[in-house]
């Protein structure tokens, strides 16, 4: 009986379940006022999530789990970089405005994928062109064509 990463993840899901239960118990209990109330469904869901996570955990600990690994799913530093970039993009979206923020973001995302094909230096120019093109298309599409609002920045 060994703890593998699947079992650890099941424990993480159980921790989420417990946190959700704690919040659900802050709501009025079901039928306390004669009606099912807002906590009935959450409490049922605590049960179903708990059963599901325990099912995974037990299968993993007993070694009976049938693993069908997702061939597309791998961890890499580029993924972490994409998450960090997207956080930065959202954080700066209103202060910087659509143009500067999107230009920077699309350039960086394009570079992360293009440097693998062209090398880090050559990819800079290509990525700048991609970033510029996509930012322009985005503005044309969202603002010019469909008259939607996008932020212009604070300065």
């Amino acid at each position: 009986m060994t703890i593998n990463r699947q079992a650890l993840f099941a424990l993480f899901i159980l921790a989420i379940d417990m946190a959700y239960l704690k919040q659900a118990l802050n709501l009025p209990l079901p039928f306390s006022s004669g009606e099912p109330g807002p906590s009935l469904m959450p409490l049922v869901l605590v049960l179903t999530l708990g059963i599901g996570a325990l099912g995974v955990l037990v299968q993993e600990l007993r070694g009976t789990a049938d693993h069908e690994d997702d061939e597309d799913a791998r961890f890499s530093l580029r993924t972490v970089a994409l998450i960090v970039l997207t956080c930065g993009f959202i954080w700066a979206f209103e202060p910087l405005g659509y143009w500067y923020d999107t230009l920077l973001y699309t350039f960086c995302v394009a570079w992360l994928f293009e440097q693998e094909r062209l090398g880090p230096v050559k990819a800079v120019l290509t990525s700048a062109l991609i970033g510029g093109g996509i930012t322009g298309v985005g503005w044309l599409f969202f603002v010019t064509l469909f008259d939607l609002f996008l932020p212009q920045g604070y300065f």
């Binding site: 099912p36 059963i51 597309d72 580029r78 979206f93």
Partner: protein
Amino acid sequence: MFADVMGGFAALANPETFLYLIGGFLMGLVFGAIPGLTATLAIALLLPFTFAMELTNALVMVMAIFMSGIYAGSVTGITVNIPGAASGAITTMEGYALMKRGQGASALSLDALASSIGGVLGAAVLMFVAIPMSEFALLFRTPDKFALVFMAVVTVVIVAKGSIWKSLVTVSLGLMISTVGFDNMVAQGRFDFGSANLIEGVQLLPAVIGLFAICELLLQGGSKARTSIAANTFNARHKDFWPDWKQVREIGFWTYFKSSVIGVLIGMLPGGGASMASFVAYAEAKRVSKKPDEYGNGSHEGLAAAESANNAMCGGAVVPLLTLGIPGDSVTAIIFGVLLIHGLVPGPGLLTNEMVTIAPMFAALMVSAVFVFLSVLVFGPYYIWLARMNRGVLYAFIAMVAMVGTYASTYSVFQMWMALGIGVFAWSLRLMSYPLVPMLMGIILGPYLELYMRRALITSNGDVMTFFGSPISIGLYCMTAVFIYFLRIKKPKHA
């Protein structure tokens, strides 16, 4: 009645009206195919312009957007594994698997053919049996609606590929996400942690963007290059988008017909929607299939069933709107607005008094369904081109549309954070081989499941036997049991 329906087709012969039909169809294709933009958004954007349009043109355009938007949700699903709309989730699962095997053109042509058949049958039902069928839908009481949604949730869990425990986990997580925000029956915030943003709940758009667009972007960040798609996929020419009639015969007309009927029936129920229609039809097709093992790994049959159902839903969804004045989903709610703007009040009497005015709407739905099939013959190679596109261009574009699209449709930076948060969580679930489609279905069906459950319990003073009190409910629970038996219990005996 028949003459009025034919008059609807005659109205489309007007060049101006026909151009509106084409314009709406292309707009629906673009909005449906781009993740983050939906047919609902396209129709919502069109709403202010309908003031200045003739009623016939406005209705025709709206119907064309509806049909092509629902179909186009599957195009990017098949080619780049990102469905343009939630209703394309099943098609994505089967279609992308076919794409990776080098059968992208075949998947796209079967997808368009199934959508077309479903759309035409749905429109035919709308034209000829709208009134009697809406009377049947009226027989569904709250416990019956609960039984229907319950059946959809259970089938989501049992149909998903891999571990049933993992499916149960993800559907529960999706249902939990749907409970965040203001309670829909009493004045009570739930799981909002005092945040004014969370009190509004998690909107569907950031959830779909996060689960599919952001998650796919992060997954692609972890893969070296898109070598997993067979090279011959990219050699497809226009003629390759004609359906392989041998495959069509293997799928069988009965599969198309039955899935379309399921789509129409679910579309007629308020809250049904294209996602539920495609899931239930898919589960039913898998139940009776001779090749159930292919489901989840690129099944032509599964793809055809799901697509027939979600496009047939378009016709069904309009039935309660026109006959009872009840919009079943967001798209029909906006169509309600278009009718009201032009002085037509949906409800009893509309079809009998205004059939001449409404008939072009029915005709537009049917003609758009035919256009769906024609569109893949014209645009098919360009759809495939999406998967061939330079990775830097494709993923920078997806990242931009996903994030900016979320902002443009919600005007909220918080919803951008929400999309990213859900995307990162979905990515971690994919790393652990958890299926994501059940999570999306949980988010979509959660509010209806809870609403019907609580409403039924309130009206019965807490008596749980109310859920088993009508033949319709019992029939739906029996169908659920049949699904469980055939898809999870009987299956291992054959393995």
